[in-house]
Each structure stands twice: as structure tokens, then as C-alpha cells.
Subunit: 336 residues, 2 copies
């Protein structure tokens, strides 16, 4: 399997990206095509003892800046490392594409260069969010700030396929994020999506309230990109600030430091469980080929995990399952 | 000062409400008018040794059920304990009103019986959210699922008055909750509100991202009621599930239990800091007289704190400050 990588996307590019690629070759047995300036890539790899074994370089000169308007990836930056990588994916020169670059540009580029799955209204960015007893998939987390009800239904179908195939959840429970459990709660978006989701080929459990998301109340939580982004970022923010608070409690004095020793294992396990980097990046679901958006601040380990995710996404046939579910929904809708 | 209380609102009414009233009389020196069935109130107080000293009873027979459509409070339930209490407030028979009953009914009843402050488009429910280093006010948390930009501006003015007068924050920092800090981020609601807020008589600091809310990035966070409710409920949910997780780590075995003893003080302080019931209820801001919505599951202590909040809201002149700020905004707008 050949994974195409944007070697110049993200805060820590190209060093951590290239290190992540090296790890992926060793641990996951994949081949890599790294898009970016060949001279710089060879230079960084040489200086940091990164092996280029099974890593091909596709030379490109431009890099799309994060602050750039996302549509520029198909305009004046259509020859940047991200754009070239996506075009190669579209042409079948690799099996999947991974970038830690600008989220907006990944969404626009993938939609226009690689194209959406037939019938999919909009691609959605999805994130796996750890909870104390497992995890759930949240989508959309920001590709579409505004959504229509039928988009939420498609998000349900896509999230369900992912959780079943990649996370091994049988019959994933799909819920619509809402401010109450009753069907009449929320805005038109949630009320209409609730009605439509009942006819979709997913295990729909109704509305889910944010209060219960951390308690594993569902396996897939669908929402518009604005609300999804708020949930993702607030979860990260609270996790980190509560974590720091706990750390401070232990650091307070000699006795508390002794206390910390007694629970070190538990704390370490907990931290590992809540570690986002373990889950890789955010799959851009609804695109006709596998595209993974790695976190902008990815280090080598996080980037390697994003490549693992790309590998699994490809191997486990998520896209064909989404296509089959869409077909089923279409037949059902026509029958009604 | 006379606080009117809905003795039959909330999950633990009337027992915990009446206990809360007794505490308020003793600790806060207020007089209470308790609205509800006189026979039941006397019976509950008698059986539980609750003193009715300085508590007058306004007999009403009906109670509005939580599952009832909120507008029923002004229709077939306009003689329920909540409606009667609000009418008494409107008539000047008391200084403030507190209920732990249905949120929707409190919003509708207050808007129609007590009326809004002149110029205020919509009343907003506000919540004080504890953070590790302080707290911030979030509004709206659910009175208006959908909002227009000018409503967010008024929320900013109202929240600013509250934080300054009641919480003693000098020149409170007001932010608009958004998925990015740039002015161009978000939906039309946030983009237009950002432009309008610049002309409001508040210390506007621009957009605030949910990631940084737990780190005290602002003193007042304004948002539509849907997003606000999501933020409030997710914050509560994450706090409680992470708290339980920490508890489990300490309970795991003998050594971890020993460890717990060394940090008990720190954990207790932390719990107190993050305890919502310390802050009372949610003020319904923008109403022409003080109305406080206590949490539906309020116990006596939480209800007493909601009464304290009502007392301070009345004493510290929040409403006249809001009126003055609205006037200032109006003059500024006319000048532009």
C-alpha cells in the first residue's frame, strides 16, 4: 500500500512528518510518497538520520500557508505539496492521502481534486473522542459550519461505517447532538434530521445530549460543523485544564507528592486512554478516496497514527460500505 | 427585602425549596413569600421542623408540569404557583422571584407577566461557569435557541453588568463564542455580532474559542442559546465524568487509597471550586425585575444560594445599569 503524504503541512513540518513516515514504513509496512521540496527533504533526513527507505519523493516547491483562503489550493496554490498529493491520489498513484496542513484547504482540495462519493452532499471531518469508558465519533467537526438535515443523515451513515469497520463496534448507536432528548427539541435542523434519520440504514437512537457524551451515550454523534467544533475544542480544553489542576494538587507539597506515587499507574493509564494522538487524525469522510487530516500540531507519533488510520480506512473498505448504505437509503426513500 | 418563591417548582419541591427558604431567612435576613398549596406547605414544614418565621404563604392550587408546553404558563396554568408568583412580582408585592420549575415556563412567564426591560429584544438565561482559576458568565444558555446578532450584543451588555456588579470584576472582558479567533470566522451571526459589539459600551475582546473557555479567557461569553446550552451541559458532563474517573483511580487498591489521604485537602478545595451550587441559579437577564431560575434538581443549599443571588441582583442595581448601558448604545448608534 502506498500512502501519499504532504511533507510540508503542519506546525512541525517537515521534520516530524518525515520522522512519522519513517516510523510508518517500519511499523506498518507501507510505502510512502512524500510531496515537497526534494532538496529540503533530503537535507532534513540526512541531518536527522531519517531513512528514506521505501519513501519516494515527489518534488514540489510551493507550500500553502495556513492563513491562506482555503480555495487558493485550487487556484494560485494548485501546485503546492498538498494539491500535488491530492492530484496524485485522484490519478491512482497512491491509495490514500495524509496532510497536517490547513483544514480548510484539505476540505476544498479533496472535494475538488479527489471528488466526493456519488450522492454525498458534503464531506465531513470526523474526530474520535475518547471517553472514560471508550470513545465516540463526532462529525462534522468543522468542514461545514452550516448544515442541512440530509447532510446530518449522511454523516450518520458515514460515521456508522467507520465505527463498525475500523473501531469494531457492532451496530454502532447513532445519535443527533441536541439540547434535549425529545424529538421536538432543538432547531429545524435537528427536528427534521431526526425524522429523516429514522429511515436511514443505521442504528439510530434519537437525540443525544452533550451532558452524556462523555459517558459513552452513543458511538456516532452527528451535528453541524459549528457545534461539532465547539464540542471538540471544549472537550480538549476541559480535559487539559482539569488535567493540569490535578497535576497541581499532586505537586503542592511533600505529602501530596508522596500521594502521587501511590496512584501513578492509574494516572498514567488514564492519560493514555484520553490521549488523542493515539487515534490518529480526522478522516475526511464522504470523499471518494481515503483522505486523512492529521492534527496541525502533530508530532512523529501522531502523524504515524494518522498514516495507520489511512491504511485501515483503505483496507477495510469504508468507502464501498458508505456507497452501499447510500444506495440502500435511496431505494428505501423511493419505496416510501 | 421580600423574595417571592415558587414553592412547587423543581424535582425536590416542596421540601428542599422550603428548607432553602428557611436557610435564606436565617442566613440572608430576607422575607419570603412562598407560593403554593398552603395545606401541603404547612404539613411539610410541620413534619420537617421547618420554621415559617418570616415566610408568608400565598395559596395557589395548581403546579405547572415540567413536560408541559411553556406557553401554558400564561394559558391554562396562569393560576399555578409559578404564574401567581410572577404576577405578584409584576404588581410590586415582592422584590424578586425565584423558581426551580420548568425553564421554558420561567422564560415565557417572566417575559409576559413581568415584561422585559424597554429595548431588550429577548431575555437570556445566564450561568456562572467555574473554571480552574475563577469563573465566567455564559449567556444565553437556552432561552433562545436561535438568535440575531443584536441579541448577542445585548447579552454582552447584560452579562457585563452582572459580572461587574455581582462578581466584582472590573471592566469585564466580553467575548463572542466562535470556532476561530479571526473576525471572518463562524456564521453570519458571529460575524455581524462581532462588528456590532465594537460599538457597545463593553470591554469587547473579540471572538473566544471554546478551547480556552476553561482557562478564563473572558469574563462574559455570549452565544446563541443552542450553542450555550451545549457548552454548559458538556462542561457539567465532562467535569462529572472526569471527577468520577479520578475517584476510581484512588479507590483502586489499598495503596491508592493511602495516596488519596495525602491529597484529600487539595481534592476537596478543587471540588468546592468547581461546585455549581455555590453560584446559585441562572439569572433571567433582560427582565424588568429580578427573576432567578434555580437548577431543577436544587437541594436546600442550592436554592438558598439562588435566593442570595436574587437578593444581590436586586440590591446591586443590575437592572438600572443595563438600562443605562442600553441608552448609551442607543445614543452612540444614533451618532454614527
Amino acid at each position: 500500500m502506498r500512502i501519499i503524504v504532504d511533507a510540508f503541512g503542519g506546525d512541525n513540518a517537515p521534520l516530524e512528518i518525515l520522522k512519522g513516515c519513517e516510523l510508518a514504513v517500519k511499523e506498518l509496512g507501507v510505502d510512502i510518497i512524500a510531496c515537497g521540496d526534494e532538496r529540503i527533504i533530503r537535507d532534513v533526513c540526512g541531518k536527522n538520520n531519517i531513512s528514506l527507505d521505501r519513501i519516494d519523493i515527489q518534488h514540489t516547491e510551493k507550500i500553502i500557508p495556513v492563513e491562506c483562503d482555503p480555495t487558493e489550493v485550487v487556484k494560485s496554490y494548485d501546485d503546492c505539496s498538498m494539491a500535488i498529493g491530492m492530484k496524485m491520489l485522484a490519478n491512482g498513484e497512491g491509495d490514500a492521502f495524509v496532510s497536517a496542513g490547513s483544514t480548510g484547504a484539505v476540505v476544498v482540495g479533496a472535494s475538488l481534486f479527489v471528488k466526493r462519493i456519488k450522492g454525498i452532499k458534503r464531506a465531513a471531518l470526523a474526530s474520535i473522542i475518547p471517553t472514560t469508558t471508550g470513545c465516540y465519533m463526532l462529525l462534522d467537526i468543522g468542514a461545514n459550519a452550516e448544515c442541512r438535515p440530509e447532510m446530518l443523515v449522511q454523516f450518520g451513515i458515514m460515521g456508522s461505517s467507520y465505527m463498525e469497520k475500523i473501531m469494531g463496534v457492532k451496530d454502532p448507536r447513532v445519535g443527533i447532538v441536541n439540547i434535549g432528548s425529545e424529538e421536538t427539541k432543538g432547531l429545524d435542523l435537528q427536528i427534521i434530521a431526526n425524522e429523516q434519520m429514522k429511515h436511514a440504514p443505521v442504528n439510530f437512537i434519537g437525540n443525544v445530549e452533550p451532558r452524556y457524551l462523555p459517558e459513552n451515550c452513543c458511538d456516532v454523534a452527528v451535528t453541524d460543523g459549528f457545534t461539532g467544533n465547539v464540542i471538540l475544542k471544549l472537550t480538549e480544553g476541559l480535559g487539559s485544564s482539569l488535567g493540569n489542576e490535578i497535576k497541581d494538587i499532586f505537586k503542592k507539597n511533600f505529602l501530596s507528592k508522596v500521594g502521587a506515587l501511590f496512584v501513578m499507574d492509574g494516572i498514567k493509564n488514564f492519560k493514555k486512554k484520553m490521549d488523542y494522538t493515539e487515534y490518529g487524525g480526522a478522516p475526511l469522510m464522504g470523499i471518494s478516496k481515503p483522505v486523512i487530516k492529521a492534527h496541525g500540531s502533530s508530532n512523529a507519533k501522531a502523524f504515524k497514527n494518522a498514516i495507520r488510520q489511512a491504511k485501515e480506512y483503505t483496507q477495510l473498505g469504508i468507502i464501498s460500505q458508505i456507497e452501499a448504505s447510500l444506495e440502500e437509503l435511496k431505494i428505501k426513500s423511493q419505496a416510501n
